[in-house]
């Protein structure tokens, strides 16, 4: 039995949900993805509790430090060890079953260790005072030490954690996927649903990991010397270029923006891969592979340089030409989205669709994803950005895109689940989990956007004083709905029943 299977069996509560089927001969593609996915849900539960805690802290006017601690942990846990890790778990399983390649081995184990140990170290640092939010806000980590907000030790601990997480996302996962796509040995018995790089469902995977690798390199080139200097290995005088705020901020957002875009391309390609399996008339084809691929290429090309939208309000330090460019490219991403919408609708119109829970989850997530895309385009307009940047609008956009993509992955997981565990899920419970997650997620999105529209700053610990508590109450209500949807989803996994052989 594989190590991953054994670990899963030992974990209380969550172990039951992901107990791997050891009899079907597919452990090589099942066990590590199951462990990775299971762990991502552990982080989700912790992070969701922190999410609910934030409006409660504000309502009762508790210590402001408590709010910033929850904010940093919630954002970081949701983005990396939950959303990204969930993507890794399910997409490795997809890659394994589509290509007939093993989804285990040293790189996968190393990914798992780096991601989770890294996230754990960062968590400890945040609990020790390192409240910098999940976007780091460089040079805040250093300024915070100088102004006595947290200690040098916590800065080093936090940066070490972040470095491990970045290594797992920028190197380990992409290299593992590239290995599976091009190099490692094919096993016919592992092929469940054969696909090649010509399929949109596979092409997106390649594009996404290349984006991670390539746009991550500059960030790693800047972060590595800084970390070495913090450890005392390099003299500080050698890294002055790297700690220049504008240098760090640019390499950071070139990566961070494209990270989100890579995750989007990855999930869109998974949707392209899964939708054809649920067509009502039995055709297993998209309306047009060409159009689907065109959407992926448009998303790739436009996303690369649209990161400028993070910096419009620096004018004129960001020359206006880059602002216009960022504006155009960001809306170009929307054009990629329009192609995707057409492909999905035309496919469904042409062939009908079987409304099974996994498929509805994917479509519901896609709806939130498109709604969020609109909010993103709106703030990416230069004129509007000057009224919205740094408000709840931008925070809400980051959160909504992640929760939309996660819902789609939960749908894809729903589809893979019987293969991984040999057990089947209850459709009724599946459908009600979608309902709560969907309305909770959409409600959260509109609450955040309404906050942004009324000028509510993101990341402030005094909602009441600013007169924004009304938005806070909405966040709590819709947050509870979303959380209930998550509980139903997990309860469904936990109560799944053996698929009988006859």
């Amino acid at each position: 039995m594989s190590t991953a299977t054994l670990i899963i069996q030992k974990v209380p509560l969550f172990g039951r949900m992901f107990n791997v089927d050891t009899k079907n001969g597919l452990e090589d593609i099942n066990s590590w993805p199951a462990l990775i996915t299971m762990t991502s849900f552990v982080w989700l539960v912790i992070a969701a509790l922190l999410g609910l805690l934030m409006p409660v802290i504000q309502y009762y006017g508790l210590n402001t430090n408590l709010f910033y601690t929850s904010l940093t942990l919630h954002g970081a846990a949701m983005a990396f060890p939950f959303a990204f890790q969930l993507m890794v778990g399910v997409s490795l399983h997809r890659a394994g079953g589509c290509l007939g390649k093993k989804a285990n081995g040293p790189l996968v184990a190393l990914f798992y260790i780096c991601m989770n140990v890294g996230a754990l170290l960062l968590t400890l640092a945040v609990l020790g005072g390192f409240k910098v939010t999940y976007t780091v806000m460089f040079p805040l980590p250093v300024v915070g030490v100088q102004t006595g907000q947290w200690s040098m030790e916590m800065l080093i601990l936090g940066f070490s954690g972040i470095a491990l997480v970045l290594i797992s996302m920028i190197f380990l996962y992409p290299i593992q996927v590239l290995r599976m796509l091009f190099f490692s040995e094919k096993h016919e018995n592992l092929v469940l649903s054969p696909r090649t790089l010509k399929d949109p469902g596979m092409l997106g995977m390649l594009i996404a990991v290349l984006i991670l690798l390539i746009t991550g390199l500059p960030l790693m080139s800047v972060a590595t010397p800084i970390l070495l200097a913090l450890y005392g290995i390099l003299p500080m005088s050698m890294v002055t270029w790297a700690v220049e705020p504008v240098v760090f901020q640019f390499v950071f957002y070139i990566f961070a923006h494209n990270l989100m875009e890579a995750m989007a391309i990855m999930i869109v390609s998974a949707v392209y891969g899964t939708l054809p399996l649920y067509l009502a008339d039995g055709t297993r084809k998209l309306y047009s592979d060409k159009l689907a691929n065109a959407a992926l290429w448009i998303l790739l090309v436009t996303s690369l340089t649209s990161f400028f939208h993070h910096f419009y309000t620096m004018f004129p330090a960001l020359p206006s030409t880059f602002s216009y460019h960022g504006n155009i490219m960001s809306w170009g991403t929307g054009l990629g989205g329009a192609f995707t919408i057409f492909t999905i609708l035309a496919t469904i119109w042409k062939h009908g669709v079987r409304p099974e829970p996994g498929m509805i989850m994917i479509l519901a997530g896609f709806v939130i994803y498109v709604l969020d895309g609109v909010t993103a385009m709106v703030v990416a307009n230069v004129a509007l950005s000057f009224h919205l940047h740094g408000t709840m609008w931008t925070g809400g956009h980051a959160m909504t895109v992640l929760l939309a993509m996660s819902l789609m992955w939960m749908g894809v997981l729903y589809h893979h689940y019987p293969v991984i565990t040999g057990r089947s899920l209850d459709a009724g419970r599946g459908k009600s989990s979608i309902k709560y997650y969907f309305f909770g997620g959409v409600g959260l999105m509109y609450a955040f956007m309404a906050g942004g529209a009324s000028g509510m700053p993101r990341r402030i610990a005094n909602w009441t004083e600013g007169g924004y508590m009304f938005i806070g109450i909405l966040i709590l209500i819709f947050g509870l709905m979303l959380a209930y949807g998550i509980i139903l989803y997990l309860a469904n996994l936990s109560k799944s029943s053996e698929i009988s052989l006859d």
Binding site: V246, S320, H387, W393
Partner: protein, 185 residues
Amino acid sequence: MLDFIYTDGWGAFAVMLFFQIPFLFFFIRIVYRKAYKNTGASETDPQKYPLLEGIWIATVVALFVLVNVLSVVYMPPVTTAAMIKKGGDFQEVNVTARSWFYEISNREYEVGRPVIFSAKSVDTVHGFAVYHPDGRILFTMMLMPGLEEASTLVHTFTEPGEYKVRCLEYCGIVHHGMQDVLIVR
């Protein structure tokens, strides 16, 4: 109406709904129909799809272009550059931001006389957002430390009153306390 759309947060909200509502309507309708009502293959003539595709993409592109082109005259980089080029009787204001307060060379301005705000941060990234007395954000600036050039913006106040200033870039544990007030007479 364009003023409302491009200078008020709720205008942005309206633009958002303008795109979201038709999407929600069509997407949910089509999926619902093909999932529950009439689930088989549809009889639509295959020739029709490319036409629909063309109409859809053309509509999207046209709307995207329209929304952005109409916004150009409201873009602060555009208006600021134009005002500075034109010259005139400006009130010059220097802002220095540090954790967690502002040094502002002059906090009182006249109605109708353009103000040039030049703002810098000396420690971490801060924001400088000016709120209308009714609560909406007139503009926000991001102040990145270490830059030669100050973030600069020209704004002409049209009504007297007390205008709140807030930092919109998270800058540490007293970020929420980073506020100030400007007076327009």
